[in-house]
């Protein structure tokens, strides 16, 4: 085996240009696959991070009735803030929020929106709630960029908000957009209007009530309190994982094609080698190799493309990876309407596992692709091979 490696290396280096081309193609696959996977990991990481910082903190407590996918539950999903939460809220480690369905009428058009009350004083989440303290004669409200665009609202715009209080009475008030924030988390932006919690409680006739709480305490197993049950960060971010998984599956097709191209080149080289190098094969046998050993030699030779490619990929890939991790990858299109947490610039994260698994997969496929044609050698008649007569 050791000899096989030595000889395979000599043969490959000796083949020069052909090896070089194959290795370049293969190394390119390496770099692209690791990079693309790194982007996904980075995206997943960033999406979860942003979600934590903008929306959920280290976890949330949800009212038992609350179901974000069912608008009809919103009306009933609120309860008084439990006393157990109050110390945490006072310390600024927990943020209560109250939700209600509403309708806004920008330029006379009707547009449903989720109205969310949040304390203006909170610092736990990145939403710039302090702006809700602005003094105007309308209710100060803030919205995200996507919402601003879809409803054609700007900073300073005033718009009528219509909703129902807890008694079922319709109420209409004017709100003023005092700030527009930019976030990557769509669930706090798309069709959302944020106003001061107290104002909201007052208008809905729900004093001291809340729908859910985001908290800073990283404790894993917090018991349910009253009508509120725990939603861990893991549960809350599961959707991101699912989305990344789908993305990954989609990308896999692309990796597959990329690898297929590289493998085709190596396969072709192997087939050609076996015909062009018949005399050489015969010579190996005449000098005392078994045909099986020659098969091994050719397989190792093919598989070594992957080793050389990995080495080459390291040479230009590592600086590229480091550079990408620093400056990030800017998606060359408007991502804000993807309906998912995607930042305009994504920073790839590479793990040892990612690099090792990619290397292993490439090495394995290359070995298989090399072995496959090489098996023919085992059936060759050495004298025919020496005569170079095999078609």
């Amino acid at each position: 085996m050791k000899i096989a490696f030595k000889l395979a290396f000599r043969n490959l280096i000796g083949a020069g240009l052909r090896t070089g081309l194959n290795v370049i193609v293969l190394s390119f696959s390496f770099v692209v696959i690791i990079w693309a996977k790194g982007i996904l990991v980075g995206w997943d990481h960033q999406a979860k991070n942003d979600m934590e910082q903008w929306e959920i903190g280290k976890g949330q407590f949800w009212h038992n009735q609350y179901d974000p996918y069912d608008g009809f539950t919103i009306t009933d999903s609120h309860a008084p803030i439990p006393n157990e939460f109050k110390p945490e809220i006072e310390k600024g480690e927990m943020v209560p929020m109250l939700f209600a369905q509403g309708t806004i009428y920008p330029q006379g058009r009707m547009q449903p929106a989720m109205i969310k009350g949040i304390p203006a004083s909170q610092n736990l989440l990145k939403i710039p709630t302090h702006k809700l303290d602005s003094v105007t004669d309308a209710i100060p409200a803030i919205i995200g960029e996507v919402m601003a665009r879809s409803s054609h609202l700007e900073k300073g715009s005033r718009v009528v908000l219509r909703w129902r209080d807890s008694k079922g009475t319709f109420d209409a008030t004017e709100i003023e957009i005092v700030d527009i924030f930019s976030t990557t988390v769509p669930t706090i932006d798309v069709a959302q209007v944020w106003i001061n919690l107290e104002t909201m409680q007052e208008k809905l006739l729900l004093p001291e009530q809340a729908t859910l709480f985001s908290f800073a305490n990283a404790e894993e197993n917090r018991p349910a309190v009253g009508d509120f049950r725990l939603k861990t960060k893991k549960e809350l971010t599961a959707e991101i994982d699912a989305m990344i998984k789908t993305k990954n599956a989609g990308q896999s097709v692309f990796y597959f094609i990329l690898l297929l191209l590289a493998m085709l080149a190596i396969f072709d080289t192997q087939i050609l080698s076996i015909f062009r190098r018949q005399k050489e094969i015969g010579t190996y046998v005449a000098l005392g190799y078994t045909r099986q050993q020659v098969v091994t030699l050719f397989t190792v030779e093919g598989a070594m493309h992957a080793v050389l490619a990995a080495a080459l990929a390291a040479v230009y890939g590592i600086p590229f990876f480091i550079w990408q991790a620093r400056v990030g990858f800017t998606v060359p299109m408007d991502t804000s309407e993807f309906g998912m947490a995607i930042a305009p610039t994504m920073y790839p994260i590479y793990s040892v596992g990612l690099i090792l698994s990619t290397t292993l997969i490439v090495l394995l496929t290359t070995s298989v692709v090399s072995y496959w044609p090489a098996r023919r050698i085992a059936k060759m008649n050495p004298t025919e091979a020496l005569r170079g007569k095999i078609q």
Binding site: I3, K6, L7, R10, N11, I13, G14, A15, K279, E280, G282, T283, V285, A286, L287, G288, Y289, T290, R291, Q292, Q293, N381, P382, T383, L386
Partner: protein, 232 residues
């Protein structure tokens, strides 16, 4: 004639499939070779010289009859056993050199040693000795494409002899050599034959080689036509 038989060939027949029928290249050869012979198969093109050498070298198997080489019956050897025989005891010199094109002269000659258990240092010494025999010590780092035909032939000869095998099978080893080189190499082979009792079997129609042979076996149409022994 020398004593212990190194090769015994009995009623050896070799047929090749050809079109729908068969072609009989060897039609019943009976030959014995003793250790330390310096013999040659002489005959016109197509008389079966290469075919016979290939069978002796266990690269091919008899269709009928028997060839026993170094105590081993060629038709009964497994692929592994025949590889072991070639690796340990045989040296081939091919009509068309068959050098490894991308390897240097040194690496080509070193190749058979890689399959045996020699240390790097031992290998180096043996390769340099072999290159000395064929007068190529100045071309150690060259690769076959940079060599002349004669030089390639000499590398092939060094490669066959480097491990000092008990049997060297040489198919037209001097086809591309000039007179001076032919004589040098044949002299080297004779020396090895004398010192190490290496058995040489040539296939040739080159007069220069024939002049050195101690035993001439004339083949014709796949049969031994006539034999001549030289007195030493």
């Amino acid at each position: 004639m020398e004593n212990s038989a190194i090769i015994q060939i009995n009623q050896l027949i070799k047929r090749f499939p050809m079109g729908k029928g068969e072609f009989t290249a060897l039609k019943g050869i009976n030959l014995n070779f003793g250790t330390g012979e310096f013999a040659g198969l002489i005959g016109p093109s197509g008389s079966g010289k290469t075919t016979l050498l290939n069978i002796i070298g266990s690269l091919d198997t008899p269709t009928k009859g028997e060839a026993v080489v170094l105590g081993k019956s060629i038709s009964k050897l497994s692929a592994k056993e025949s590889a072991k025989l070639r690796k340990e005891s045989l040296g081939f010199i091919f009509q068309s050199y068959n050098l490894l094109q991308v390897h240097t002269v040194f690496e080509n000659v070193e190749f058979p040693l890689l399959l045996l258990d020699y240390t790097t240092l031992e290998r180096k010494k043996m390769v340099m000795d072999a290159l000395e025999w064929v007068g190529l010590t100045d071309k150690v780092k060259s690769k076959p494409p940079q060599l002349s035909g004669g030089e390639c032939q000499r590398v092939a000869i060094a490669r066959a002899m480097v491990k000092k095998p008990s049997l060297v099978l040489a198919d037209e080893p001097t086809a591309n050599l000039d007179a001076a080189n032919s004589h040098n190499i044949l002299q080297t082979m004779l020396n090895l034959n004398r010192e190490l009792k290496t058995t040489f079997i040539f296939a040739t129609h080159d007069e220069k080689v024939i002049g050195y042979l101690k035993r001439k076996i004339f083949l014709k149409d796949g049969l031994v036509d006539q034999e001549e022994w030289m007195n030493q």
